[in-house]
């Protein structure tokens, strides 16, 4: 396996893309009509105060210099101060991000496990009643947006069956675990508090299902169709004819090449989950990045918006590198020739 050079090259490209993204988002933040300093302070702030903030934000310098200064700060791990909360953006993000990360993490597990297993079973029993049910439901799953699922799930579980809690991160009055990672489920396990873990976990389930259903259905559909395509190939037929056990044929020779396209799509969907998490978190009163994100968005907090986008950009690009490595592992043509097929 010559994965080393492949990963290195991918990493180089990613750094380039990240640079591009920073230029793009910085440009948008600066060319937007209106003065960010004025917007942050409100229409009634005195002129000299606004002017001071403008100087603080380097808004009086030429655009290229502004970008250079900003990049210098970012390179030192400083995303600037939030114009609304007056605290470093980094600190705000560190506080709110773990909750969202926890939610998206569980969502990703649902998407990957649910999507692939449903797709595989559906392809294995192609054109039976089970397959048809899965196909019908995956269609419904895809076309129903996450926030519609959130409303429907909340209705069912808040109104009809009281199995899962529908609000917040923990039951009201429960004291959260000592902060280590900021993720309640992991922190409570590290503290050995299994009751807290269960409580936090139960609160994650409904939002995670709402977020996972559309991408999971998409993954199931793609897995099924690529499995079905590969099932009819001669190599598979000959393998079966040679008497290779069914389990080996499906698990090894059929699954590996069939997973390439679903994995690529799932990465994009999991990253997009951060966007839809905004809505789902709001519906379930889940205090994650969404509450913060919506607040900074409505307040035109340019520094914070740029910060959030850059953090999500890094997450997405990392995710893509991981996917590329997995795909390279699955597909020797990419691994050995370094070529995208």
């Amino acid at each position: 396996m010559r994965l080393g050079p492949f990963v290195l090259r991918r990493l180089a490209i990613s750094i380039f893309v990240l640079f591009g993204l920073s230029i793009l988002i910085f440009l948008i933040a600066r060319i937007v009509p209106g003065d960010p300093a004025r917007m942050a302070l409100g229409p009634r702030a005195p002129v000299d105060v606004v002017e001071r903030l403008r100087q603080q934000m380097h808004l009086d310098r030429p655009l290229l210099e502004q970008y250079g200064l900003w990049l210098w700060e970012v390179a030192h791990g400083n995303l600037g101060d939030s114009l609304v909360t007056r605290r470093p953006v980094k600190q705000d993000i560190r506080e709110f991000f773990p909750a969202t990360l926890e939610l998206v993490g569980l969502t990703a597990i649902f998407i990957i496990v649910g999507g692939i297993s449903l797709g595989v079973i559906s392809a294995r029993y192609a054109n039976t009643w089970f397959d048809n049910v899965v196909r019908l439901f995956s269609y419904l799953g895809i076309v129903t947006p996450a926030f519609a699922w959130a409303v429907i799930l909340m209705l069912l579980f808040g109104f009809v069956w009281h199995i899962f809690p529908t609000y917040g991160r923990l039951t009201e009055g429960v004291i959260p675990p000592v902060t280590i990672t900021g993720m309640y489920t992991i922190d409570s396990l590290l503290n050995g508090r299994f009751d807290l873990f269960w409580d936090a976990f139960m609160h994650l389930i409904l939002p995670a299902i709402a977020l996972a259903l559309p991408p999971m259905s998409q993954a199931a559909r793609i897995t099924r169709s690529s499995m079905a395509d590969n099932q009819n190939k001669d190599c598979i037929a000959s393998m079966i004819a040679y008497g290779v056990p069914n389990r080996v044929v499906t698990g090894k020779y059929l699954l590996k090449p069939s997973l390439i396209s679903p994995i690529t799509v799932m990465a994009l969907d999991i990253a997009a989950t951060f966007g839809y998490a905004f809505m789902v978190e709001k519906i379930f009163g889940f205090p994650g990045l969404a509450r913060y994100g919506i607040q900074v968005m409505l307040n035109k907090d340019v520094n914070a918006i740029v910060g959030v986008v850059m953090v999500l950009g890094v997450v997405f690009i990392t995710l893509n590198i991981v996917v590329d490595i997995i795909v390279a592992y699955l597909d020797p043509r990419i691994r050995l020739l370094g070529r995208n097929v």
Partner: protein, 301 residues
Amino acid sequence: MTTKGMLTSSSLENPWARTLDSLKRTWYKFSRNWLSVLGLVMVVTIFFLAVFAPYVAPYPQHSGKFVDFKSKNQPPSWQHLMGTDTIGRDILSRIIFAFRNALLMAIVVLAISVPFGTLTGLTAGYYSGTWVETVIMRVTDVFISIPPIILALSIAAMLKPTLMNSMIAVTVSWWPWYTRITYSLASSIKNEYYVQAAELTGASKIYILFREILPNCSSSLLTKMALDVGWVTLVGAALSFVGLGEQPPKPALGTMIAEGVERMPTQWWIALFPALAIMFVVLGFNLFGDGIRDALSPEEA
């Protein structure tokens, strides 16, 4: 395209008859699947409701500033099929009016991003291997380095919250996907023999790009467009859910859900019906788009 099939004698003489012929054949294939037809019916219904909103909505005046505290928070009934919201407005009427802006948004976004994306994609695909391709595709890479919903949210956040600005935000994050799809099609089509033949006979670049390559991308692009009307509506609703988009009292599907969520679960109808309306739009255009794909794909009969 379906022009490959049998041509009747009349169709050879008259180009109009030929178009009609191919349309008929496309419709035949399209109508074989009842789900596609259902999609078409849903799409037509949405357009009908949007265009004739003031005539079909039961309470047209409820689409703007209207307050009737006497009939607020009413559950669905015969007077108000989908109930009323917190200040007594008929939810069905507001949904019908919200379709207008949702469709307007989809049309504006696609009307800008499809030509732009197609043009850049065609150019990059035809000149693949040169600096033109490098410039266009690397810029595109940057735009698609984060999911469109996040890019659209952040752009809309930095602009003033209006319908117009949310359209701009979605357009900016939408075009690269058309560049990408056209690029991948064009870069493989340019190696086909008919393109090389056109080049050898001295056809102009414009002719090759628009008359040789573009028509062969059109079925994929049309399918994507039909599907995207639903997805743009979805992203638009996501923006207005956060408060970036059409401002109250004008109705927007996302805003209506956001308002209703505060009343969950007791006054469930305020959030549920707008959510179902978005589902209806996305489902309709998805079924319709899949139907178009089946009808335009040459392999399947």
